[in-house]
């Protein structure tokens, strides 16, 4: 029998933890997005006419959302599971009648929820600066959810793997953010020299941003199917890793 009560308890506990830093959670995406618009959208954007038939300020909206959603997912989920490990309160989770899947749903669900909220906030902020006309709203939400969940899973893995706070902070900073910047948040991959275009294809974030941007403007760096396949692949890799962690008790049980 599924312990729904426990899933709900973990989920609400995590949401409450995030609520304690609510001001910061809301303010920082709104402020940073506004800054990006001022710097990239207005200052630089005024010199770039259009990218793929879309004004530059509008063009960067999907990328901006993805950038925040990616880093938020990873950070939230990794902290969520690392904190009880660090504080030693994990004993209670381990001794409770909860399956690993239920633990995962609780933590990853909460982290993904917060990312989706942040993503929505950025979208709302963006409408203050540019006119948005989302071509495929269903797909937009689909990408937003899928990305939040996939990268929250990645964050969960990082939170289990990490044995100090530095590792938790360094991954979003040194891996996720650069991948997001280089993944076409602020430009189209097609604007790069051919060699860099090829290299960029190894960056999983390219497929996310491309698919997400397609849902906004119907233009993409790679085809929708390729995007979907790549994201699914990444999701499967994360799930398999989590499964392995749970099977072996890696870093959970001595």
């Amino acid at each position: 029998m599924i312990n729904f009560q426990a899933i709900k308890t973990i989920y609400l506990f995590e949401m409450a933890r995030m609520k304690r830093t609510l001001g910061q959670s809301v303010a920082s995406p709104v402020i940073s997005t506004s800054l990006y618009f001022v710097v990239f959208g207005s200052a630089i954007g005024s010199r770039i006419n259009e990218v793929e038939g879309v004004s530059y300020a509008s063009f960067i909206v999907p990328g901006l959302i993805m950038l925040s959603v990616l880093t938020n997912s990873v950070t939230n989920a990794s902290f969520g599971i690392y904190l009880p490990r660090f504080a030693g309160t994990i004993y209670e989770i381990l001794s409770a009648p909860i399956s690993y899947v239920e633990i995962l749903i609780g933590y990853v669900g909460a982290a993904a929820t917060k990312s989706i909220i942040v993503g929505t906030l950025i979208l709302a902020t963006a409408t203050l600066f540019v006119d948005l006309n989302i071509q495929h709203p269903f797909w937009m939400l689909f990408f937003l959810f899928l990305t939040s969940i996939t990268f929250s899973l990645l964050g969960f893995i990082i939170g289990v793997w990490a044995d100090n706070f530095e590792k938790i902070q360094i991954i979003p900073l040194l891996v996720i953010t650069p991948l997001a910047f280089l993944g076409g948040s602020f430009y189209s991959i097609k604007m790069l020299p051919p060699l860099w275009q090829k290299i960029s294809m190894a960056n999983p974030v390219v497929y996310l941003i491309s698919g997400f941007r397609w849902s906004f403007y119907n233009t993409a760096d790679v085809s929708l199917n390729v995007s979907l396949i790549m994201i699914s692949l990444f999701l499967i890799v994360c799930l398999a890793t989590v499964r392995w962690i749970f099977k072996t008790g890696y870093r959970f049980k001595s």
Partner: protein, 307 residues
């Protein structure tokens, strides 16, 4: 067939990743409704054993059942029967007492029950602290919150891993009062402690573990009786060099004005009466007399050293 054991441990072994053997084929049955005290020096394997039963640590070999269910294949059933108060005081620093206790209940899949939690906090004298963040509590208070957390889901078995470490005398008494009440309510209690007088005072049965091996399990009273010879100490009014020959039939030791008499309290005639009569007859006056059981502590030290 009547089976009144609630926990059965069969040939339980634990080898840690580094190759260290913390438990070496432990066999133990815990009876329903009893208070079982697990004694052992630091590093004996007490916490390891508890961690395995509760699901925090994986067993290397052997089998454990709780309430007839296997702890691995039926973990949801076994864990919902168990409440654990761990040795370490690990808490969420920013959470309030109330939230942290309700969180525990939820984790165990129980519907919220504010009345029950309220009563629990009142019983543990924590009610006035219910809205305080954990980090503002003293060590003893935190310990009580840990107990409240463990009891929040109304378990049938309660593990107390050194519950009175860092708890003052007053509170310790309260705590034992609580434990007795729980036992009366039918909860089985397994506790570890270094304070042997606690085991002596509280436990129905005592297990002694040393270097991963359970070296003794016995009813406490029997253990005390079996190993407990008694000692009578008489403080004489003045120093004596020698005792009158009529006292030589007693097993006596004299050191200045302290006379000690070793006897077996289980014997029909302890010999105390005739000893005292003999003293009076010989006009040896005394100020004070005092009898002592050899404590569990002495028994324990003797056992561990014999190993």
């Amino acid at each position: 067939m009547k089976n009144n054991s609630i926990i059965e441990i069969k040939q339980l072994c634990k080898t840690y990743a580094g190759g260290f053997k913390a438990l070496k084929s432990v066999n133990l049955k815990i009876n329903k409704g009893e208070i079982f005290a697990l004694l052992g020096p630091n590093g004996a394997g007490k916490t390891t054993m508890i961690s395995i039963i509760c699901g925090i640590s994986n067993p290397s070999e052997g089998q454990v059942t709780v309430g007839g269910h296997d702890i691995l294949s039926d973990y949801k059933k076994t864990r919902s029967l168990i409440g654990l108060v761990p040795q370490e005081l690990n808490t969420d620093a920013f959470e309030s007492v109330w939230n942290t206790v309700c969180f525990s209940r939820g984790l165990f899949g129980k519907k919220p029950n504010p009345q029950y939690i309220e009563q629990l906090l009142k019983d543990l004298s924590l009610w006035d602290k219910k809205d305080n963040p954990m980090m503002t509590l003293s060590g003893g208070m935190k310990r009580r919150v840990m107990i409240a957390k463990a009891l929040s889901h109304e378990p049938e078995v309660l593990f107390l891993d050194e519950p009175t470490a860092g708890v003052d005398v007053e509170l310790r008494k309260d705590m034992w009062q609580q434990v007795r009440k729980l036992r009366e309510a039918g909860v089985t209690i397994i506790l570890t402690t270094h304070y042997i007088e606690e085991a002596e005072e509280m436990a129905d049965r005592v297990g002694v573990i040393n270097q991963g091996e359970l070296i003794l399990v016995e009813e406490k009273d029997q253990l005390m009786q079996k190993m407990g010879s008694k000692k009578l100490t008489i403080e004489l009014s003045e120093n004596h060099q020698k005792l009158p020959s009529s006292l030589s039939s007693f097993n006596l030791e004299l050191n200045k004005n302290i006379l000690t008499y070793n006897f077996d309290s289980k014997k029909e005639d302890s010999g105390i009466c005739s000893l005292l009569e003999e003293l009076v007859k010989n006009n040896i006056r005394f100020n004070d007399i005092n009898t002592q059981k050899s404590s569990l502590e002495e028994i324990f030290v003797a056992l561990v050293h014999k190993q």
